[in-house]
Amino acid sequence: MDKFTKLTGIAAPMPLVNIDTDMIIPKQFLKTIKRSGLGVNLFDEMRYNTDGSEIADFVLNQPAYRDAQIIVAGDNFGCGSSREHAPWALLDFGIRCVISTSFADIFYNNCFKNGILPIVLPQEEVDKLMDDAERGANAVISVDLESQTITGPDGGTISFEIDPFRKHCLLNGLDDIGLTMEKVGSIDAFEETAAQARPWV
């Protein structure tokens, strides 16, 4: 997993609430057995007509936002299925950070496993960043994970909260399985005790 330290990039505004995982990556693209290559199909049904041509007014098709690295979104982003194809598609497109008032639980977890930083902010701060993001090519936002701050195009700074363990893993690009393997003694001990207490499992 790539580290996430600082990111300065264009922020795309997506004010719609309840942007679900079927919108982010429709099911016909879940038949892959790889993690890569999904960026071209990110938001497929919102982004392309049935003949494959681009829908001009969809935000990521607009010239100012084609290289967006950040999405500022409406409430409850990523609701729906557990498909990790959603963060894989975002990452493959180049999105490394999503900002919203709330995220669906599984999507939120999945982001951290892929070096994407999901940031939860109060409504008025999301509204402010949404305004910033609507400035087109001038919608450049900087995110600094170490100091937990977001700096908008006008220089104003917003702080955000993040779980310290998740922050540590993102900053260092740590592999969860490797970390857990270091505690294998605890898992062995648990299994032994559980086998006595609940032998039917």
Partner: protein, 467 residues
Amino acid sequence: MTGKTLYDKIWDAHVAHEAEDGTSLLYIDRHLVHEVTSPQAFEGLRMAGRSVRAPEKTIAVPDHNVPTTRGRDNPDQMPEDSRIQVAALDQNAKDFGIHYYPVSDIRQGIVHIVGPEQGWTLPGMTVVCGDSHTATHGAFGALAHGIGTSEVEHVLATQTLIQKKSKNMKVEITGKLAPGVTAKDITLSVIGKTGTAGGTGYVIEYCGEAIRDLSMEGRMTVCNMAIEGGARAGLIAPDEKTFEYVQGRPHAPKGAQWDAALAWWKTLYSDDDAHWDEVVTIRGEDIAPVVTWGTSPEDVLPITADVPAPDAFEGGKVGAAERSLDYMGLTPGTKLSDIEVDTVFIGSCTNGRIEDLRAAAEILKGKKIAVKRAMVVPGSGLVRLQAEEEGLADIFKEAGFEWRLAGCSMCLAMNPDQLQPGERCAATSNRNFEGRQGRGGRTHLMSPAMAAAAAVTGKLTDVRELM
């Protein structure tokens, strides 16, 4: 010291390691696997030279992608990409030595129907699967939730998940349900009240007389959609109905182990003085048969209501409602019971069990469908067999329904069972998102009895008029 909730008790029994900040390694008792969210996880194991830590606790079944038509064990029936994905699961199950039900096995079906049916799911367990509807297993008093593919790989390798504890929410449904009101109406009504993000950060325990009165099938329907309310998991405390359902199933404990298990299972309930971070109470008598009108499961109303206007909402939901109505092709003020449908889908992990098929068949008996297409997809091969033995299959077929083989089918439309643009479907599944059942397809969620009623009248219908 305050008492514990059911969630607290199951959590405490599964913590293998806890760091100072509360980040825990939660031990996983059952890991269910399907073909769509697992290939990258197995590939990750291979690349790192890792094995599956507990293959005996890992159960795989293909369900999302498989055709539901006859002759499907011939791989040529499948599109190339689907065939490769199912073949990958075949191979991974074999290479890593995990339990497997291939499409040719009568026990194959939707993973959340197979788990309980085979007795893999037991009270007090932790159950995970790379599928959000894993919440279904909470009906047994098991802590069950969906995970992403990276977490699937983590569980395969370590039999644990890195977790922080969620908050506790109690959803109590008091009193009795009125005739024609089912588990599906309960779970949709709860989401209508709390919203799709209302449960975010919580594990929900459903309780109250109306929940106790439900069968195990009904309880699974309720817990299945906890995720649609944003909760990590839904739980119902196990009771005599649970124990009766579990006893004798192939992988349920037997003999002395059954007695030991039962003794522990009987301690699995929330203490009277347990702390709840949130409590929601709904009177069972106030719940009506409901349908969804929009493109989020929270867009739910009694069948007797009208299509709402966007200005009935607040904040970002105004724009979302406008978009939903446009997508759904609906005009505010239209009576929901005047909306015509051309397709009916009965099935899914929400409503693909025997009791669901019985409820639909009861309405369909002696009647013919008035829609272009109607389809029943049993949740497992064994549900299908039982429905045939009970004569339900004949009722469906005589009414004009297609009688299919088991799978997820048109719930997520990854296989050929899809809506065409503009088609409108009365569905017993769990999501009405844009494009969910096929690009441009329009989905109204409801109970199996309501879907059967829509099939015979050709429009959304109050099932109570046909009872």
